[in-house]
Amino acid sequence: MEAVQYGDRKVYSVAAFNRGIAEWLSRLPSVWVEGEVTELRRQERWASVFFTLKDPSDGACLSVSMPRRQFDALRLDLVDGERAHVYGRPELFETRGDFRFRALSVERFGLGDHLAALERLKRKLAAEGLFERARPLPRFPRRIGLITGNDAAAKRDVLTAITTRFPPARLVVAETYVQGPRAASAIIEAIAALCGIEDVDVIVLARGGGSFEDLLPFSDERLVRAVAGCRVPIVSAVGHEQDTPLTDLAADARASTPSVAARLVVPDADELRERLEQSRGRLHRAPLLTVERKRARLDAAHGRLRALAPTATLERGYAIVRSGGRIVRGSEEVAPGTTVDVELGRGGFGARVEDLRE
């Protein structure tokens, strides 16, 4: 770019400046841009058609031009408000210094196309096994990461649900965009940031409900992959269940309300307390139980021992007959005239055998 030097000041002519910018722009690569077609202007005597591509999320505009013959050959019959993908590169219209996007191709991209594209992506990711992740959630996460938009109500709902159920819960909140074109990358960064905290054991992605458009970032392939590849399990917490963005499928668990999310990531403190008190009560009774059980066993053994002792039998009227110190069990062990010793329950006596019976 030639400039005229006025002392230490370098000055360009408008034409030179525009040419320089145009040249610089021409080195940029061709890309696809998506937006709504508005203000379509086409006239037979013009060499080009013009339209404005509008970003439906924030109204950003881009002037587009396309050679009329190429445009006509596409036979698109585009009308204002239709969604399109435009392939082209930036260009400066030198004589006027107007910046434009020079379209090389235009494709209609309606809701149907959108759904079809999502469906293709879904099949592709499913084939990779990205939607089969359902890792167990920690019962006692040391810290819980929460990714939420700056919507105060949604954030409060999740925080309240978690801290009510489990007051000692420790949370790290990452506020980020959850809608619009920057949402996907912002959420990916938030996931990475939370994963970088050593004791974060689970992440809740509170995305809220919304229109098909609002939820688009949650079907962004990069985000879906980031969720599936996350170091810790991710719970996708949503307002509505009718749409299922791909992120939900890649998450380890889904929660339809903040309280369901809370139930998934923290234990119920009241239940824990009750269980502890129960354990303690049983613990206190248990040693007694041990002593009683041992006492009962001892008593039972003692009872059996007593039942087996000969004295008890003698007390019931039986007698023990001994001959020469040995117990006489049958009549063949003695003969008439043998002296025997008879032991009774109380006392005893000596006797002589008179006659024998078989």
């Binding site: 790290v172 990452a174 960064e189 040693p287």
Partner: protein, 61 residues
């Protein structure tokens, strides 16, 4: 020791004592350990103050 581990051990001790798997000397020792675990768990529940920090992720490019 985590809350979860402490609670699990406490419940194992209770079971052991209730089913009479421990002899009398062990029972006393287990009882003391159980009491200690109970206090640890309750302490964790009652004293631990929940925290909510806010992370400021780098501004998206």
């Amino acid at each position: 020791m985590t809350f979860e581990d402490a609670q699990k051990e406490l419940e194992q001790i209770v079971h052991k004592l209730e089913t009479g798997q421990a002899d009398l000397d062990d029972a006393i020792r287990l009882w003391e350990r159980g009491e200690e675990l109970y206090r640890l768990c309750v302490g964790r529940l009652e004293s631990a103050q929940g925290t909510i920090e806010t992370l400021n992720p780098a501004e998206p490019a």
